[in-house]
């Protein structure tokens, strides 16, 4: 095994364990912190796959912004602590469905891709320059649409969350 493979194995293990911890934690703040670990290891996996810009965007947007939003959401809504108040009665059905989804996906993956397939062709680097070229060359219109969507979401969030003046 090469160093890349060791690094991927460690990152995938850490990410998977903390993903399970995110969805099973009894304390909501702990769940948010486990989510930070998962998102960071996914970002490091992006780096290993040669997608440096996506990796830094992942760290900045997800770990920097979205988790902070979650923490603010948890602070503004007093969340109870404990499994009985956080999980509903059907959690075994949920676990069964999740296991079924994973088994189905794993079967399809091993059926479609032989284990010898390397993920990166040698010499491939998804540099920031190439990403920028692709966005502003082929995807200008979707890019503008996404920025408009972000503006709409911003206004919508302000309108939804502010208190009404008149009773």
């Amino acid at each position: 095994m090469t160093g890349q493979e060791y690094a991927f194995a460690v990152l995938a293990a850490v990410g998977s364990v903390s993903a399970v911890a995110t969805v099973t934690a009894r304390n909501v703040v702990h769940a948010a912190l486990y989510l930070v670990v998962t998102l960071s290891s996914v970002g490091a996996v992006y780096l290993l796959l040669g997608a440096e810009f996506v990796a830094w965007v992942q760290i900045l947007i997800y770990v920097g912004a979205i988790v902070i939003l979650f923490l603010f959401g948890l602070m503004l809504t007093k969340a109870p602590i404990g499994r009985d108040s956080l999980d509903n009665q059907h959690r075994w059905v949920g676990a069964l469905v999740a296991l079924g989804v994973f088994a189905g996906l794993a079967f399809l993956i091993q059926d479609a891709f032989p284990l010898g397939d390397a993920v990166t062709a040698p010499g491939f680097r998804g540099s920031t320059e190439a990403v920028g070229r692709s966005i502003f060359h082929s995807y200008v219109l979707p890019f503008e649409a996404v920025s408009f969507l972000l503006l709409a979401a911003l206004i919508g969030a302000v309108v939804l969350a502010r208190k009404d003046d008149e009773p």
Binding site: A19, L49, A79, P80, A95, R133, Y139, L149, L150
Partner: protein
């Protein structure tokens, strides 16, 4: 060289953890967190295939998905806060006003 099926299995595992979280959690903020896990799994797939076929399109789509996820979390948390203000609770199984 990292094997492609291993990356896809990692992503499938993240997605399944997200599915479990969406189905098993009562707290609306936790449901949103599980949805983020599922979106991340999709992004891992997109980036892996982008490297596999030497094309930038997957990475560009991953960036778009990240920005749409940011918008979704903003709106979602605003709705959750509104819900908390009106109901004093953010348990998703108590919100059944529109349930058929």
């Amino acid at each position: 060289m990292i094997p492609l099926p291993m990356v896809l299995l990692f992503s499938a595992f993240l997605f399944s953890a997200g599915v479990y979280g969406v189905l098993a959690r009562r707290n609306a903020v936790m449901v949103l967190m599980a949805i983020e896990l599922m979106l991340n799994a999709v992004n891992v797939n997109l980036v892996a295939f982008s490297a596999n076929i030497r094309s930038m399109n997957g990475q560009v789509f991953a960036l778009f998905i990240i920005s749409v996820a940011a918008a979704e979390v903003g709106i979602g948390l605003a709705i959750v806060i509104l819900l908390f203000r009106n109901r004093e609770s953010i348990n998703v199984d108590e919100v059944s006003l529109l349930k058929w």
